[in-house]
């Protein structure tokens, strides 16, 4: 595995996405710094997934998305890894994890057998993800956490410059979440890709992200995690702060999250 640092930055300038006459995103200016973990937070319908899709070039947008690559690290399109929020596929699909890896890495059909190189690459990536035991399992029989690991292993196989994760721990139990985050931290410190993470879970965000972008159709605020996740900013982003905090404390539940964040700043206690 190459250890060279990825010196990439993603610059988003005045990005807007309209669909059906509605502004889904308007006037977004944001930077993703190289090698850092940036979290994208915001209420449902804030356009978080849309922003990821725009970066992937899967929705039409106006404005600019620039991928900057340091000269000494070569030219060409940056490699973007993507782990979608959930896969709505046929759970009975006759497809093992190795098949799934081979589908995206070899040209000739997998029905003629997985190539030696694609099998070796699959095994290596799965081993790194601590998921070697899943290689021969049908994709549809994996638990949510196992599937996330497989998708992450596949995304990391190609040594991405930027990794986009959409709600990586939704539908994963607490233990699975812990495992996933540890693995992600480990991989991230090993290869220093830039990571853009969409998450509802502010405890995950405050533990793992270097920077936070708060989004609600436009940028509410962005900056270093501890400075950004303030009650005032969260209130601005989620509409009424009174709801989030007073109710959150009263009944142990945030209105917006199952696990309401402790007020930022009190983290690590």
């Amino acid at each position: 595995m190459t250890q060279k640092p990825h010196l990439h930055t993603l610059e988003i300038r005045n990005l807007s996405v309209r669909a059906g006459g509605v502004d889904i995103l308007a006037g977004i200016d944001a930077d993703i710094r190289c090698g850092e973990v940036t979290a994208l937070v915001g209420p449902n319908g804030a356009g978080k997934t849309t922003l990821l899709l725009a970066i992937l070039g899967l929705v039409d947008y106006t404005g600019e998305i620039r991928f900057c690559r340091a000269e000494e690290h070569g030219r060409g399109a940056p490699r973007i890894g993507y782990v979608p929020q959930h896969l709505d596929f046929d759970r009975n699909a006759p497809m093992t994890v190795v098949d799934f890896f081979a589908l995206s890495s070899q040209r000739y059909p997998v029905v003629l057998g997985a190539s030696r190189s694609s099998r070796a690459a699959a095994r290596e990536s799965l081993a790194r993800a601590g998921a070697s035991h899943l290689a021969g399992r049908p994709l549809g029989r994996l638990s949510g956490g196992e599937l996330q690991r497989v998708l992450l292993a596949l995304a990391l196989r190609d040594n991405p410059d930027i990794l986009l994760l959409d709600e990586p721990v939704s539908g994963v139990d607490a233990a699975g979440e812990e495992l996933f985050c540890d693995f992600l931290d480990q991989m991230h410190s090993a290869s220093r890709f830039s990571l853009l993470l969409v998450s509802h879970d502010l405890s995950v965000v405050s533990r793992h992200a270097d920077r936070v972008i708060c989004l609600n159709r436009r940028i509410v605020c962005q900056g270093a995690t501890t400075e950004t996740l303030t009650p005032e900013n969260l209130a601005a982003m989620y509409g009424s702060g009174a709801h989030l905090f007073s109710h959150g404390h009263a009944d142990g539940h945030g209105h917006l999250h199952d696990d309401a964040p402790a007020p930022p700043g009190g983290k690590g206690a």
């Binding site: 899709l53 992937l56 899967l58 973007i80 890894g81 993507y82 979608p84 896969l87 709505d88 596929f89 046929d90 009975n92 699909a93 006759p94 497809m95 093992t96 190795v98 098949d99 799934f100 081979a102 589908l103 995206s104 070899q106 040209r107 000739y108 059909p109 997998v110 029905v111 003629l112 057998g113 021969g136 049908p138 994709l139 998708l151």
Partner: protein
Amino acid sequence: MDRLLPFAFAEPGFMKRAILAMLFIAPTAAAVGVPLVHFRMAFFSDAIGHSAFTGVALGVLLGIHPVVTMVAFGLFVAWAITLVKGRTDLSADTVIGVFFSTVIALGIAVISAQKGLTRNLQSFLYGDLLAVSEAEVVWLACLFLGVGVYLYLAFNRLMLLGVHEGFARSRGVPVRALEISFALVVALVVTAAIRAVGILLVTALLVIPAAAARNAARGTAQAFWGAVAVSLVSGLAGIAASYSLDTATGATVVLFASAFFAATAVARRVLRLA
């Protein structure tokens, strides 16, 4: 040829042509059926099959060979459904359902205005494998090769697309081109298979072998070759059985495939419980 198929029932020329036709169309339909089932497109192929009914009626009305209009109309409907599906928020079922009914209504309207057309339709509704011409066998052979090349190039990307569209796109899969091309390939295979099993049963030839193989397969390769094997065995057994039982060939072939499906479904359940 005699050495290739040394069966008494294969003696008449029409039997040899029927068997050859089946050897080409059965694996082609089953192979296309694997990604088709993966995409949950069984209803789509049914709609294309039924559009053939209208295609034939239009051919007779316009004085063009009905097989030509059947294929052309099938391709048109496949293209139209795929296009509309990609541009509305309606679910695929709804779009296909609307096209399905419209096309059938058009066919019935044409037929009811043209007396004497019904007899012509019989062989399309139920299939008439024993009446295939040499030209048709050649067409099926070309289709067999063409679909083979298509799947060689597109199979992996089709399967990836079936898992998650955004994910497939992020890995460089050209989604629109793939959807349109697959719809057209399905239309070609469906209209060709109508000759063997008829409009009413054509979907079965694509879907049942793939479904049966899925019951037993562990990976993609097993599912694919299993489907091809089920379709070949059902096709040949169906021809032989229909010859001795004097039943409709297409229906007999489909019944054999259904038996494979039932057996694998039961086996799967038993093995999972065990």
